[in-house]
């Protein structure tokens, strides 16, 4: 680097400060995120100041109101046309307010709302010392099985911190798919990851597994985000900026003024490609694509089931949103480089998830692997690289998240002495014991399997159609085959529930409070509506299929 350049650098650095104007923030357009984050902060204060026995109610009320309000805000923005015509970049280029962002934010908010209901369920666990308890530990700090824990339970402690944590996570997720520069992307990633790590550790039963899940999730998650960050660094190095638009321009080579430094780095594709690979890897980790999926089964199994449902649904939505934006906004010019790689990833993800699931014996792990397989299907839609691809993925995510939350909500109902009875053998003959619950779960399983008249089929058809139109016919064939494999283990569960005799020491099905009922009910309703009359939502997703740059 020449001396003059250094000098210029020094002078620029020494420019008078007053040139920097105050940033312009479109609060209206960021309102969903702001509401949720604000509510989260308030929630922390509530923890600090509200007496313990009211906290649960206040927190629940607060979160529900916040999420509902945020959703209303999203709807309002969409109605004012920010999803389509008035789509724009807000917050000094940090956040994009456009169709995909709003659609996904809406989905995340609804999913979060439903998930919050399952968080707040307090009828399933038997009374502990006369106190209604939810599925979260009394005092996270207390050693499992110690007197401390006993005392905490006796005192009727409950970890109401889960509500603000969840809100923080949701806040992060809202930003994630809307992030319009890599920094915001990274921050959002951390903002929604860290609370999730904590939530995983807070199970009331089987605490050791819960903590183990948290550790694994945390270490691997941090590991992954380190990769992402390094990738970001490389991209920054390549383009001299972290803003999507700028990077895209540089990639496509249409930049107005090229200073020597930029010219030097621009020439160096290695920076670009390695950077892209590392950033994408971080996102693939979050969506749980093979080979970055291995945390999924363990974490899903160990985490408190409501959290699992929340993670499985919302995280996927947010992560795929971010992935879409990255690939469609930043790297369209690089399509020919990343498409083949994604092909490979999609294929091994679909097949891997389906095949390994066949021999699972724990319902939560089973669903984990099924979620991996589904990630593969969605990737097929991502690869389409057409507006249809985007909208099909959006639709699939919406459909999938409700099915998932509903399914995990049902899992929380089937219990025996040791808490939830997640081992498949315990589910034998459930259909005889309580036909309704079994039938509902069967509906969810059929949706996972993609049987017509369920949302699963519509979504699958949408992404496969998009993929086929995008020239990925082979992917469709693989996808079809792996759905056939996947069908096998969904059916296995149905056989177990309906066609095998109930065991004498089988689990009981707890009757939940309206909260969980709502969660499950919403799940079923969405599943069937999106299966039978999906037109409206397909239109919505179709209109939302365009990214702003």
């Amino acid at each position: 680097m020449s001396a003059s350049a250094v000098h210029s650098l020094w002078t620029t650095a020494a420019d008078p400060i007053d040139k920097i104007g105050a940033p312009k923030i479109e609060y209206g357009q960021l309102s969903p995120t702001l509401i949720v984050i604000g509510a989260a902060v308030v929630g922390v204060l509530v923890e600090a100041f509200v007496p313990r026995k009211f906290r649960y109610y206040v927190q629940l009320f607060l979160s529900v109101v916040a999420l509902a309000a945020a959703f209303a805000a999203v709807v309002g923005l969409a109605a004012r046309g920010f999803g389509t015509t008035k789509a724009q970049i807000a917050a000094m280029g940090a956040i994009a307010v456009d169709g995909p962002a709003l659609f996904l934010q809406g989905t995340i908010l609804l999913a979060g709302l439903v998930a919050i209901f399952t968080f707040a369920e307090r009828r399933l666990d038997p009374l502990a010392h006369g106190n209604r308890v939810d599925s979260f530990v009394a005092q996270a700090g207390a050693v499992p099985g110690s007197e401390g824990e006993q005392a905490a339970t006796k005192a009727g402690f409950t970890t109401t911190e889960v509500f603000p944590l969840a809100l923080f996570a949701i806040g992060g997720m809202l930003v994630f798919p809307a992030a319009n520069d890599l920094l915001t992307l990274f921050i959002a990633l951390e903002v929604f990851s860290l609370p999730l790590y904590l939530l995983c550790a807070l199970a009331r039963r089987k605490r050791l597994m819960s903590q183990e899940a948290a550790v694994k999730y945390f270490l691997l998650g941090a590991f992954a985000s380190a990769f992402t960050l390094f990738g970001i660094a490389l991209l920054y190095g390549y383009a001299g900026s972290v803003s999507y638009a700028t990077i895209a321009d540089v990639v496509e080579g249409n930049v107005s003024t090229v200073d020597p430094a930029l010219a030097e780095t621009m020439g160096n594709d290695a920076l670009l490609l390695i950077g892209v690979a590392m950033v994408v890897m971080g996102l693939l980790f979050k969506v749980g694509a093979v080979p970055f999926h291995m945390w999924t089964p363990d974490v899903y199994q160990g985490a408190p089931t409501p959290v699992t449902g929340f993670m499985a649904a919302a995280t996927k939505v947010a992560a795929f949103g971010a992935l879409l934006r990255l690939l469609y906004v930043v790297l369209p010019g690089l399509r020919w480089d990343w498409r083949p790689v994604m092909w490979g990833i999609a294929i091994i993800t679909m097949l891997g998830g389906a095949i390994v699931a066949i021999t699972q014996t724990d319902i939560k792990r089973l669903l984990a692997y099924s979620s991996i397989a589904h990630a593969g299907f969605i990737l097929a839609g991502v690869i389409a690289t057409t507006p249809d691809g985007v909208s099909s993925v959006l639709f699939y995510l919406a459909a999938y998240s409700f099915v998932t939350i509903g399914a995990f909500a049902v899992v929380t109902l089937v219990r025996d002495a040791g808490g939830e009875a997640t081992h498949l053998s315990k589910w034998a003959g459930l259909g005889r014991r309580s036909p309704l619950v079994a039938a509902v779960f069967a509906v969810f399983l059929l949706a996972f399997a993609g049987i017509p008249l369920t949302s699963g089929f519509t979504g699958k058809f949408a992404v496969f159609k998009a993929a086929a139109e995008g020239g990925a016919g082979a992917l469709v064939v693989v996808g079809v085959l792996s759905s056939a494999i996947a069908a096998f283990f969904y059916i296995r569960v149905i056989v177990l529930m309906f066609f095998s005799e109930p065991k004498a020491d089988g689990p009981t099905v707890a009757v939940p409070s309206p909260l969980t009922m709502t969660a499950i009910g919403v799940g079923v309703a969405v599943t069937l509506v999106l299966g039978v009359a999906p037109q409206y939502f397909l239109d919505l997703a179709g209109q939302a299929g365009v990214f702003v740059r």
Binding site: V215, K216, L219, L220, F223, A224, F227, D269, A270, L273, I274, V276, A277, M278, V280, M281, F285, P291, F292, M294, W295, P297, D298, W336, D337, W338, P340, V341, G344, I345, G352, I355, V356, A357, I358, T359, I485, F488
Partner: protein, 631 residues
Amino acid sequence: MENLIALLVAAPLLGAAVLLCGGRALDRAGHWLGTLLAAASFVVAVVLFADMLGKGAEERTLSQHLFSWLPVEGFQADVAFQLDQLSMTFVLLISGVGTLIHVYSIGYMEHDERRRRFFGYLNLFLAAMLLLVLADNYLLLYVGWEGVGLASYLLIGFWQHKPSAATAAKKAFLVNRVGDMGLSIAIMLMFTTFGTFAFGPVLEATGETSEGKLTAIGLMLLLAACGKSAQVPLQSWLGDAMEGPTPVSALIHAATMVTAGVYLIVRSGAIFNGAPEAQLVVTIVGAVTLLFGAIVGCAKDDIKKALAGSTMSQIGYMILAAGLGPIGYVFAIMHLVTHGFFKAGLFLGAGSVMHGMNDEVDMRKYGGLRKYMPVTFVTFGLGYLAIIGFPGLSGFFSKDKIIEAAFAKGGTEGWILGSVALLGAAITAYYMTRVMLLTFFGEKRWQPDAEGHAPHPHESPKTMTIPMIVLAFGSVFAGGFFGIGDRFLHWLEPVTGHKHGHSPLSAATVTGATVGVLLIGVALAYLQYGRGPVPVTAPRGSLLTRAARRDLLQDDFNHVVLVRGGEHLTRSLVYVDHTLVDGVVNGTAATMGGLSGRLRKLQNGYARSYAVSMFGGAAVLIAATLLMRAV
């Protein structure tokens, strides 16, 4: 007038429907109803016959179109009848003999609690048989063809509690099905060749197609005929069919159904005339069966089976005649009719004997019955004389003509066929005499039956004897009536056509020869059975005898080749289906499971190994991305 034709079929069909669907209420009167309707059909036949005689030879053909059965693009099948002299002959025979046998059965089946059903089946048979001979197209004929097969199946197996009966019935149906295959293929060939399968158009258009086609059609028709008329190689079922009640044997397996093959060939004369090879095959089949049946007839001790053998051989004569073409058609039918009389009579006689002997069928346990059942003896005797062709009786006229025609075929073929026919006549005389002697002459050799009742032979009731007498009349005079002055020839010629072959031998010579061989046959039989006492248990006998007792090993052949082979085939196929076809699928499932189990191991629970996979994944990802750019 032609609207009456449908009645012929409708009457017995109605009877069948009522008797089979109607409940026990009909048990008392059922048999009378059945007989009445059979008779009604006969009356209608007579009326039509009278009307037909009233017309000139040309406009004697009546036809009635009921409804369009199966109209499909390019494919027309109608339910329509055609009544010409040929059909008329059969209609009279069927309804006449049929009625008589109904009457006979009233007595014969008296003690059977399922008599109503029996008459229902008989009526069903009549309906089907009449449909067969009245149909004006091959497809409808096919319906009647299978219909009689069904009736025969039901009647052979009428005593279903006897496994032997059930098996015999099944066998009969299956063997016939093989024949039916031939018929249906023939019909398909006609359709593809002529675009139709109605008698008229097909038989007129035979000139317009190749001889090869005609030969194919002819052979297929022959196959059908073999099945129905128990000709070699499809004859094996007839012997077992004797498991059925005797009236059934008389009506179906002697007089009418088994002659359907002859009808088919004569009816399709135009086709065969165009296909000499096919005709040759027909004659060969006839000749072979003629001897085959006769030989079997000599060896059987079961009176009905002996008669069955003879039926086979007599039909052999007819087929032989039919194979001779225009020179033979008329005589084939003529012999068919006379045979209908005397063979039915003989069977009824046999039935009457069994009736008196506790259903004993082994002739070696009869003997000297003439004193005990005179009517039976006389009628049976007349039938016997008729069948061996005793001069002046029916058989003489018809059979003699056939032998003559056989010689008249000319060339070596003519000689061979003729001498075979003569030889057959001799053997016929031999085995029939044997039957006669064993049954009615010599000393009594009666044995108590299984329950230990000693038989008290007695004459049968009127309902049974009267039909026998009537048939006896037929067997005596029918031949003369037909033969003298070629009445029958003139009657049938317009339909079948007729040519006088130029026989190398004069008619007189042939007649002389026939009578000569006849006497030889009778003499041999008398020498063997007439003089000394007859052993009750059959002697071991010569190789031929033993073979003949086993139907010349034909069943054994079938058993080894078809039954055993079939069993092996099906068993192995079941295995294949289970292991191979199913195995492939289960195999894939198993492989998937195994693969899954193996992949599961990667999920070993150690966070660090997960990190390794991530790291590796990232490395691959980067490498791949760079590679993409490189290539």
